[in-house]
């Protein structure tokens, strides 16, 4: 600690200080060795090669050090489904162990910057005009994604155990509906929306609403594999402006409580 005073002082103000002060954890008075291993030779000689430096280890080895203590915690339950773990993103990529509190950033702007430092493409999508208010700092990436992993695709957060995390803020779309719109349940909101951002109103995947609908409701049964929803609901004349946005009439597009055609 004489040579690494800044680091030691940072640890002393962090939650890891409990390792330094609590005898039951086995590293009382030598918190550094909890992660760096035995350090006596390094301390005596100053030779950096005589101590384990996680910065030189691969992600799995770094994670192994962290998980020695942190494996059996609820945050790690989705670890196997985490693309971070699968793509060798180490715990220390997001958690700064040597700095004083917080080990993990809490403010939305700081969290978003942290995520955007790797996810450049997603950050660019948020610069499109129709987006969730992430760049403004009103939401953060963790509102929708669980960086430790989840059972949902793209590490999405869950709501009420196993429902899509989108319903945390969009409870009016949750249902259950008497008449469901199947893609909402089978493929999620992303079947029709670009959640990070879009040039299209309502963050839709197409500029014209009718094409969002007609690409599935195409009146062209595929063969030999059957797919759902190919039969159009009626013989609408697309030249009429009334039929150019299907949701003008089929306004309960996320599901209807009373009408099987999603009209009311």
């Amino acid at each position: 600690m004489a040579c690494h005073e800044d680091i030691y002082n940072g640890i002393a103000k962090s939650p890891h200080d409990v390792v330094e002060t609590d005898a039951k954890r086995g590293f009382e008075g030598r918190v550094c060795e909890a992660c760096h291993g035995p350090g006596q030779k390094h301390a005596e000689s100053g030779d950096p090669t005589l101590i384990r430096n996680p910065a030189n280890l691969n992600a799995a080895a770094v994670d192994k050090i962290c998980l020695t203590c942190h494996l059996n915690q609820p945050t790690q339950v989705g670890r196997l489904e985490s693309s971070h773990a699968r793509n060798q993103v180490a715990c220390t990529a997001c958690h700064k162990v040597h700095e004083s509190q917080p080990l993990v950033v809490r403010k939305a702007e700081a969290t978003n910057k942290l995520c955007a430092s790797c996810h450049l493409n997603e950050w660019a999508q948020f610069q499109r005009p129709f987006h969730h208010r992430v760049p403004e700092g009103d939401m953060n990436c963790v509102d929708c994604h669980n960086p430790h992993g989840s059972i949902r695709p793209a590490m999405q957060q869950s709501f009420a155990a196993n429902e899509p995390g989108c319903f945390k803020c969009h409870g009016d779309k949750r249902g259950p509906f008497t008449f469901e719109h199947a893609p909402v349940r089978f493929e999620g909101c992303q079947a029709c929306h670009e959640p990070h951002g879009s040039a299209n109103p309502r963050m839709l995947i197409r500029a014209d609403v009718r094409f969002v609908c007609l690409e599935c409701h195409a009146n062209l049964p595929s063969a030999p594999v059957k797919v759902a929803g190919v039969v159009p609901p009626a013989f609408h004349d697309l030249r009429s402006p009334v039929f150019q946005n299907c949701t003008v009439c089929h306004q309960k597009i996320h599901g209807s409580y009373v009408d099987r055609n999603l009209l009311k």
Partner: protein, 713 residues
Amino acid sequence: MKAILAIWVMFIWVMLPLLAQQPAAPPAPTLPAAPATTTSAPATTPAATPAAAQATPAPTAPAAAATTPAKPTAPAAAAATSDTASPVPSTEPALSGWVDLGYRWGSGVGGSLDTYRSIINLGSGPKFLGTDFTLADPKHRWFDTIQVRADTWGDEPSSSVHVEAKKSGVYDFNADYRDFAYFNFLPSYADPLLGQGIVLDEQSFDTRRKIAALSLDIRPGHWWSPYFGWDHDSSSGTGASVFVSDSNDYPVPNTLSDSTDLYRGGVRFEKSHFHVTLEEGGTSFKSDQSLYQNPGSANYGNFSSPIFGQTLDLTSLLANYGIGGSSAYSKVLLTANPTSWLDIYGQFLYSQPNSNVNYQQTDAGNLYLQSQILFYSSEQQLSSAAAEQPHTTGSLGAEIRPFKRVRIVESWLTDRLHDAGSAATTQALLLAGASVPLSSLIDSTLVSNYSQEAVDVFFEASQKLTLRGSYRYVWGDALYAFLPPQGLASSAQEQLRQNIGIGSATYHPTQKISLTGEVEGASSSGVYFRTSLYDYQKVRAQVHYQPLQSLSVSADFTLLNNQNPLAGTNYDYSSHQESLSFYWSPGGGKIFDIQGSYSRADLLSNIGFLDPGTLSPQVSRYLDNSHTATALVDLTWPHSKRFTPKLAAGGSFFISSGSMPTSYYQPEAKLWLPLSGHMTWFTEWRYYGYGEAFNLYEGFRTHLVTTGVRFTR
């Protein structure tokens, strides 16, 4: 409010006995698990000085970070300086932090005010721009620290406040509240009457959405820890909607109101070789949307053509949705490491939401029922409906380490969802002197069974190179049916079968370079929808390079090709996106630093369909080519030592061509001028410019200037 009171009462009731015990040193957990705040910081620990917070530039507007690209190398450091550190030794003031007060002027919106409100919605006037402060109790009586953060209050598109209170080993309390103005009025989106000169978005709304969350963890860091939580989401406001009658549809005003509350409680058990979390929860939901048109005026709807010489109209309407719902859910989470070479993970999740509806509708006018060639003057409808959706999810997986350099991850996931609904409807159509009763009872079923099995093998080829190979098999089936059968699509049953292979490599030759590449390919023999991923290829690559201590560069590349060649589908989709960013901070950024990013994205989608009116073959072709760039330069006045002015300038632009040519500019500049050790004056200029090539009337541009003072303690 009742729920908030209940949570607070519960909080106080639970905490009083614990606090009464006042352990001098809380019993230590067996692991340094939970990030509990230490109460035993040594007296010599350097304090986090208020100056640290003072030196951090203030976000002066809710959109302050809108265009700021990421600093690739030091994002957490930026956060660390902006978060007030804690705990503090007893010699430090108990209260530290800052508060920003200011005023915003707008130049007025040139172009479409409605589009401006739909996208930006920042207004003029006095603003409470934000605060971030920490209250520390040196004696650690009721709390160690209370941290409060708030952003942008005062008729803003979004406002928030967040409170964290904690006492090490005793409790950890979090409260979060956000208020969003949710406005949307874009005539190009839904205006069938635009050709008649009527500018109206028939799917517009002006609402506020309020989201709150409270959570209380008791005994954090101990081997067993109960916790409680409450989440709230509500929305209310007005809008425009469409009342759909049989042969016409009428744009009408509506009122919107819904709220969802989620209550949960559980307990975590954390031991050295296993962890179990048990949670029970439930939700309540209600929604009271209504559509109305006051009597006395005629609404001619979206179809003005006479039918059999008669013009249809709607002269009065009242339609009320009385929707209620609830759910209960259970959650069991498990991790274990029974041996040094095996980790086990498992989840069991079950939820059963339900809803019930009483819909009432009364309308009058000259209305027409096409199926019976019947004109009628008024209608009454009563519908009673209910739905239930049991949903079970389970997952189990293991990480096996048979050899030093090999890890095998095996995981299995299954998900079953069954939605059953039933709606009974009674209608009465009133003619001149007669009544035509109509009634129906429809049951609906939606079933989804989904499973996936995945194996990942990781091979540490060297300390610097990790290879991964994965195989995933996904299968499922879905059923959607009505009873009694009606129309052309009364039931559908599909299968999902996909074989997916993934290969990836992570190369980390030095601390300054890292490369990650992943290739994924899939072949399907069954999917649910025409546009689903079928035979697809995904590529993702990321590179981080830090050639100098002061310079770092990152690149990100993604590609997705998806083809469904089946007869009747012929779906061809391809997209790719490339991004490059840099951060240059010579001399540690003492004088200036600069960061920037550029991204290009291309998307092309072609899929055929039959025009529903003419049954002629058509192609839905969507094309989107876009360029996005962000930049930000931070300048620090070099010759001033005590009170250092700072200037930041930059912004972002987005330009696209293709199916929706759009431009969106957001330049900005900010100046911070310290006036004293505790006060900083700041001012900010922003410009927003938006344009659509196909809907010129929806473009807008505006200047906003915000100025204010930060008080720091």
